[in-house]
Each structure stands twice: as structure tokens, then as C-alpha cells.
């Protein structure tokens, strides 16, 4: 009996050793590429206990706008006028807000218009703007380091951020929603249980995604465009950020749509250093004028109305 078992073992060993002449090829399987610096699942920034405040409330303008080029002395505006150009941190990749038109190489979009309006009011020249492309995560640090005068980059006004920087009054209302592929039946966050939802690293959107009761898996990238790439390639099931940015993504891919009940209320304001309240008041004066004389409406209608529907300028709220 032992002998037979040994014999069987021997036969098996011989069979195992005598490999076929051809090496059996493993069936080829596609490996999807990834954009650089994708975090899956994303590290969720800790949502610090938010100090209570009215995030929309900014500083009231002092009287009428000074004449361009005649800024009151010892103000941030005077220093900018001295320099001859306004330095603004913007996004170069947000379609409809701030992006490079590949045909001309020029920056264009709703937020670029706003930066030019402010430059014109301050310096009398729409062209006297030096744009600096910055990342989402850089918005507050560049203001703190005084590398830029203003940040106009769909920056949500929050009480937490108010502790580090100041904001102008709201220039655009937005809400965090979802971008999904059409026809997959996803209608709400509730449909995304255990599925991947993409947003940019360090944004408030990541925190919101992680906080949803359906427990989607947050995935983070360097830019929302990378999220759209992942959505197109089927590597995530939704992108979630403010609806105005989602509209910019949807405009680039008609096979996607913006859906879902808003999960946040995100007023966008112009970011200004905490040390320059006079600059905040100046920007607010420009915004007041733009709301009143139809400049805001013209820019909105040109870039956004056809994509996210008609809107009126958000009303200014002041804290003083």
C-alpha cells in the first residue's frame, strides 16, 4: 500500500516536473493608467470644529470707488498702483471660470473677467493683471505669504477660512453636487454606497463625500480635470464638487450630467490677506458696482447661463 502511494507520488512528481514545451501564457488583461498623485481611498482632512460665524458677511465698502490710479495713500491699493499691476491667484484649468483657450493661449472665463474688472477699477487698465496659476491647496498659503494680492479661484467662504484670510462679498453661489455618467441610474449620494467618488485633494468636497451616510469611497486627485479623466475611464463612479465647477466638467463631456440634491451651500468670494481690510472693502465696492450696472450679469450670461441656468447676482451681506 505504502509502495503504491509512493509510486503515485512519483508519477505525480514526474508529471509536475515535465513542463510542456510551451510556457503557458497568462491571459492578457488591460491595466488602466492613472493620473499622477491619485489617492484611493483619499486621506480625509479632519473637519476642524468650525467656529461659528456668518460666512457670507464681509466688510462694507467705504463710500464710492476712488478714481482709477488715485488710490488713498498707505493702503494696499496704493502699493499695488505703485507696482503697476495686480497679482491674482487663479485656476488655469477650470473650464468657464479660468482656463487657457488652446487656440489663442489666452486666459478666459468668468473669474478672469472679475480679475480684470478689479484691475480696471484700481489701475485703469484691464490688462494690468499678473495671473498666477495656483493649486487648490495653495490658495490660503499664497495669501498668507503675500505672494498674490487676491485669490479668485472658486474659493468657498467658510468660518474656518475666515480665521486665516478675509473674503469679499459673495460673487457666485454654488452647492456641492454630483457629476455622473449619463444613463447609469445614479441619482443621489444614496446610490453611491461603497462606490468611488472623486474630488481634489485638500478640498472641502472630500470631507463632505466621506461624511455621506451612504459611505462612498473618496478618491482624491490634483485637479478636478483628473477626476473627469477617471470618470470617463470608469475608474470612479462620480465626481463631487461645487455645481459650477461640475458644469465646467459636464461642458467638456456631453455623456456626463450634474445630478443630486445639493449637500452644501458654498458661497464663492475673492480671497484677500487678513492684513488688508481696505482691499476687501475696495473689492466689495467693485462688486457692488458690477451688480448694479449689469457687468456681473453680462459676464455670467456669457460664460455660465447656458450651462447652469439663469441667475441673478448674489446679494451682498456685511458684518459691519
Amino acid at each position: 500500500m505504502k509502495l503504491r502511494a509512493a509510486g503515485v507520488a512519483l508519477v505525480l512528481m514526474v508529471a509536475a516536473c515535465s513542463a510542456p514545451d510551451e510556457v503557458r501564457e497568462a491571459p492578457a488583461e488591460a491595466v488602466l493608467p492613472l493620473p499622477q498623485n491619485v489617492q484611493d481611498p483619499a486621506e480625509v482632512p479632519s473637519a476642524a470644529p468650525a467656529p461659528s460665524c456668518v460666512p457670507r458677511a464681509s466688510l462694507r465698502p467705504t463710500g464710492a470707488l476712488p478714481r482709477p490710479g488715485r488710490m488713498p495713500s498707505n493702503t494696499a491699493m496704493a502699493r499695488i498702483a505703485q507696482r503697476g499691476r495686480l497679482i491674482v491667484g487663479i485656476d488655469q484649468n477650470a473650464y468657464l471660470f479660468g482656463f487657457r483657450d488652446p487656440q489663442t493661449g489666452d486666459l478666459a472665463g468668468f473669474e478672469i473677467d472679475l480679475a480684470r474688472e478689479i484691475a480696471e477699477a484700481m489701475l485703469g487698465d484691464r490688462g494690468a493683471v499678473q495671473f498666477r496659476a495656483i493649486t487648490t491647496a495653495d490658495r490660503i498659503p499664497v495669501l498668507e505669504r503675500k505672494e498674490v494680492d487676491l485669490v479668485i479661484r472658486t474659493m468657498t467662504m467658510t468660518c474656518e477660512r475666515w480665521q486665516k484670510v478675509s473674503f469679499s462679498t459673495e460673487y457666485l453661489s454654488s452647492r456641492q453636487r454630483l457629476l455622473v455618467r449619463r444613463g447609469e441610474g445614479i441619482k443621489e449620494f444614496a446610490d453611491l454606497a461603497k462606490r468611488k467618488v472623486c474630488a481634489t485633494r485638500g478640498s472641502t468636497s472630500i470631507i463632505k463625500i466621506a461624511a455621506q451616510p451612504s459611505k462612498p469611497i473618496p478618491v482624491s486627485t490634483d485637479s478636478t480635470l483628473d477626476c473627469l479623466v477617471l470618470l470617463q475611464q470608469g475608474q470612479v463612479d462620480a465626481v463631487s464638487t461645487i455645481d459650477v465647477l461640475l458644469a465646467g466638467l459636464a461642458a467638456q463631456d456631453p455623456a456626463t450630467e450634474v445630478i443630486g440634491t445639493p449637500v452644501s451651500d458654498e458661497p464663492a468670494g475673492v480671497g484677500v490677506s487678513k492684513d488688508s481690510p481696505e482691499l476687501v472693502r475696495f473689492v466689495n465696492a467693485v462688486l457692488e458696482r458690477n451688480r448694479a450696472d449689469g457687468t456681473w450679469q453680462r459676464s455670467y450670461d456669457r460664460w455660465l447661463a447656458s450651462r447652469i441656468g439663469p441667475a441673478r447676482p448674489p446679494a451682498a451681506v456685511y458684518r459691519d
Binding site: Q92, N93, D106, R132, A133, T135, D226
Partner: protein, 419 residues
């Protein structure tokens, strides 16, 4: 070799060491000399054949393998850099850049196809990854191109995904192939340089045995010299001397092939790798539009590597383009950092002779010429090493046969005296 009949006599087998009859002793000594002669000849033959095979491997197998790996690496990284420059060019990309990119892909595919036919297991895994992912890469580049033409920023995101795939997957695999091929060339050169110890030992043992046999015969007979053994000794000296000289000459060529050739190839390939990556980084920093800080950091790192490598192997004609590149890059970054993006793009894509594109091209072509020359030296030295061994196989066979014949002829009359 025919064993002489005299050795096959039935009474050869010694009964006990001290009690051999004289003819038995002679037969035994003759047999030992023949065995030693055969061993020496075999050692010489083996050494010659081994070195010929090594040099043949360099000229016909590992050398071309390394050449193809270099070509593959270059084509892939040039495609990466060219795609970035073409993407940045305002409006429709220049036809010349498009063609350059397509040529790069065609060259990479051709190199892959040939390499797949003759790869060992380790290389085959790398090649398969490359063959799997190259179409994915080109697909991403074309997607980027379409979106860019539509005026959508999404194009930039696709191009960066393509470049990430290239840098994190394709180029490391191609680099692995290149390193393996180059290691094989250098191993062959090193093996061909080593001291042929078995040739020396067996040759000297054979000579010593011939001397000992001569002394033995001189004691047992009244003749001072045995002509056969003297002839065998002289033939053995010639065989050993000739083989030693030829093997050393071949070894010298192989060593020269390593110092002037393959180690230069390693440095030059590294320099070209850094140059191409720096050029791609330059473009990607601009394409990333504000998210490009990490590409600029990478640029600084690989540019340091480039100047470091070029400091170790001084290549004529690299100083000027290198300096100009550093200067132009600084100016270009200055434009971008102060917000003049269009001026930066114009500089990065400037096709004029003094512009960044041509400066890079000049450096790349200088490195390429130096690399071709180094590859040629590897091949030429291997050819000369093989040349030093030409005809040695026949000569060793002939001399060994002559030596054995001389031993037999030297002993036969002495054994015959006892019949």
C-alpha cells in the same frame, strides 16, 4: 585522435608500482604524456572557443540587444518630450513635431517586435508590459490631442496621464532592458579579460612531464636526448606560448572595449535619459498650468544628474548647448512665474536655432553621436578580439596532434628494443 596500438598491448596494466618491467614503464609514461598533452590541448581549445563565443556574443547578440534597448528607450522618451512640445504649441501642432512623435512610436514598436523574438524570461516580462501599455499610452496621447483641438482643458489632464504612464511604467521597464543588455555586454568583456588559468596549469604540467620523461629515459638508456621528446617539448612550448599571446591580445581588446566602449555607453545613455526627461519636464510644467511645481522640481533633479554625468565623461560639444539651455530655461521660468504664460510657452516651443527646442536637439544629437561612437567601439574591439583568436583552433589541434605523434615516435623505438 587515434590511440597508438603500442599502448593497447595487453600487458600494460601495472601489477604493482615498483615491479614494472621497463617496457611497461615506458608505455605508462607515454600514456601519461599523451594524456597530459591532450589535457593541455583541450584546455587551450576550450579557452579559445569560450573567448570566441564571448566576443561573438558581443558583436552578434548582446551588443545588438543593447543597441535595440537604447533605441527603444530613446524612442519612448523622445515621444514623451515631443508629445509635450506639440501639445503646447499654440493652435494646431506643427506637422514636423507630429511626424517626429509618430516616428518615435514606429521605432519603439519595431524595436519591441524584434526584441520580443529573442528575449530571455526576465526580459520577456518587461517586454510584455511594454507591449501591453504602449497602445494605451498612444491612446491617451490621441485623446489629449482631440480635446486640445476642441479647446477643452481636459486635454492637458489626458496628456499628463499619458506622461505619468510613460514615466512610471514604460520608461522604467525600458531602462531595465537596457541595463540587463548592457550588463551582459560588460560581463562578456570581463570574462574574456580573465587569466586563462587552466591553460597555464595544464601547459606547464605537460612541459614538466616531458622534462621528467626525458630525464627518466636519459637515466635508463645511454642516449642523452630522445629526439621525439625534444620535438614534443618544443611543440608544446610553441602551442602554450602562441595560445597565451593570442588570448592576452584578445583580453586586451576586450578590456579596451569595456573602458572605451561599454562603460561610456552606460554614462552616455544615462546622460541622454536625463536630457530627454528634463525636456519633457519643461513642457509638462507648462501643461500642468499651475499644478506643475513637481515637474519643475523633477527638472532640477534630472538636470543636475545630466551635468553630473557629463562632468564625469567629458563629451566635446555639450558645454555650449548645456549652458544655453540653463539660461533659456531660467528665462522661460521667469516668464511663467511672473504670469506671462504665453511668453513662456513661446520660448518652450520656439523652433528658431537659438531657441529651447533646437538647443535641446543640439545636445541630444551630440550625445547620440557620442553614443553611436561608443557602441561602435564596443563592436570594433570585440571584432578585433575575435580576430586575435582567428585560426587558433586549427593551430591548437595541429600542434597537439604533432606533440602526441612526437611522443609516440620518441617511445616506440625504446619499447621496441625490448621485443
Amino acid at each position: 585522435m587515434v590511440v597508438p596500438a603500442v599502448l593497447l598491448a595487453p600487458d600494460v596494466a601495472p601489477k604493482a608500482a615498483g615491479r614494472l618491467t621497463t617496457p611497461q614503464l615506458y608505455r605508462l609514461v607515454a600514456a601519461a604524456l599523451i594524456a597530459l598533452g591532450l589535457a593541455a590541448g583541450a584546455a587551450q581549445l576550450a579557452a579559445v572557443r569560450e573567448r570566441q563565443a564571448l566576443m561573438h556574443d558581443v558583436t552578434a547578440v548582446s551588443g545588438p540587444l543593447s543597441g535595440r534597448a537604447q533605441e527603444l528607450y530613446r524612442a519612448l522618451s523622445d515621444a514623451d518630450a515631443t508629445a509635450a512640445t506639440a501639445f503646447l504649441s499654440p493652435g494646431v501642432e506643427p506637422a514636423e513635431l507630429r511626424k517626429r512623435y509618430l516616428d518615435d512610436i514606429a521605432r519603439a514598436t519595431a524595436a519591441l517586435t524584434v526584441a520580443l523574438r529573442e528575449a530571455d524570461d526576465e526580459d520577456a516580462v518587461r517586454l510584455r508590459t511594454l507591449a501591453d501599455r504602449l497602445p494605451v499610452y498612444t491612446g491617451l496621447v490621441e485623446t489629449a490631442r482631440s480635446y486640445n483641438r476642441l479647446g477643452l482643458p481636459l486635454g492637458g489632464a489626458y496628456l499628463m496621464e499619458a506622461s505619468t504612464l510613460m514615466r512610471q511604467t514604460l520608461l522604467p521597464e525600458a531602462q531595465g532592458l537596457l541595463a540587463a543588455a548592457q550588463r551582459r555586454v560588460i560581463d562578456a568583456q570581463r570574462d574574456a579579460t580573465g587569466t586563462p588559468i587552466t591553460v597555464y596549469l595544464s601547459g606547464l604540467a605537460g612541459l614538466a612531464a616531458l622534462v621528467a620523461a626525458q630525464v627518466l629515459l636519459a637515466r635508463r638508456t645511454n642516449r642523452l636526448f630522445n629526439r621525439g621528446l625534444i620535438a614534443a617539448f618544443l611543440v608544446a612550448v610553441v602551442a602554450l606560448g602562441w595560445t597565451t599571446v593570442a588570448l592576452n591580445a584578445a583580453g586586451k581588446q576586450a578590456r579596451a572595449g569595456q573602458t572605451e566602449g561599454s562603460s561610456q555607453v552606460l554614462h552616455l545613455a544615462a546622460a541622454r535619459r536625463s536630457a530627454l526627461q528634463a525636456r519633457a519636464d519643461e513642457g509638462l510644467t507648462l501643461i500642468a498650468r499651475g499644478n506643475g511645481a513637481r515637474f519643475e522640481e523633477d527638472y532640477a533633479r534630472v538636470f543636475d544628474e545630466l551635468t553630473g554625468t557629463l562632468g564625469r565623461v567629458s563629451i566635446a560639444g555639450t558645454d555650449i548647448p548645456l549652458r544655453r539651455w540653463t539660461q533659456l530655461h531660467g528665462e522661460m521660468r521667469e516668464h511663467d512665474d511672473t504670469g506671462d504664460y504665453r511668453a513662456a510657452v513661446a520660448m518652450a516651443t520656439d523652433p528658431e536655432p537659438a531657441g529651447l527646442s533646437q538647443t535641446f536637439r543640439e545636445l541630444d544629437m551630440t550625445l547620440d553621436a557620442a553614443l553611436t561612437a561608443a557602441n561602435d567601439r564596443v563592436r570594433e574591439r570585440a571584432r578585433r578580439a575575435a580576430g586575435a583568436l582567428t585560426g587558433l583552433t586549427a593551430l591548437v589541434l595541429l600542434l597537439t596532434a604533432g606533440q602526441l605523434a612526437a611522443v609516440v615516435l620518441g617511445f616506440r623505438p625504446r619499447i621496441g628494443e625490448y621485443r
